[in-house]
Symmetry: C2
Subunit: 106 residues, 2 copies
């Protein structure tokens, strides 16, 4: 790991507890739902319209990343984020889809 | 509502946030998984083997009940608990099953 590199749990380390905790928040759930619409695409963190302060945004990205829901990359000109769809689908089949659907039904 | 009656959210009031927060805890997730094995049965709360203090047990039941995951009934000789399977399946199809499966894969 080089300086400034962001820490991510390995696929086999993913735990359902932190994932559910991360997804219990409506803003984070909305980010995951938007990422899931284009799972192969990386998206600029700044492009998400979150009704929260900058410090809260930073915390939301960290919670999502540390739970293993997203990969986050610092490209120098900005932070990029991408859903860990393959890892999540392999470890927890159907979970993310069910949570996204539930969020939209809620 | 009579004195001592336990408060439950109505089916149409269920929200995914409190449900995920409730299920983020491994002990509560285990209770829900055990209830889901026999969804038509009511079970004595005292029959669950939870490695926590009595005050924590009481809190766990309340979190599950207030999230709308369980019906809890005070029968005088003890508290009984039952999964709100029909309400949950109707509002959030596949969610509880996916979470239980994820908990067992975790």
């Amino acid at each position: 790991m080089t300086a400034g590199e962001l820490v991510h749990p390995r696929a086999e380390e993913l735990q359902v507890g932190p994932i559910l905790l991360a997804l219990a928040d409506a803003n984070r759930r909305r980010v995951v739902a938007q990422l899931a619409e284009r799972p192969d695409e990386e998206r600029l963190c700044a492009s998400f319209d979150l009704p929260v302060a900058k410090s809260s945004r930073t915390r939301h990205w960290r919670v999502l990343r540390e739970a293993g829901l997203v990969y986050q990359r610092d490209a120098g000109n900005g932070l990029y984020i991408r859903l860990r769809k393959e890892d999540l689908d392999r470890r927890f089949p159907g979970l993310i889809q069910a949570v996204i659907a539930a969020g939209q039904a809620s």
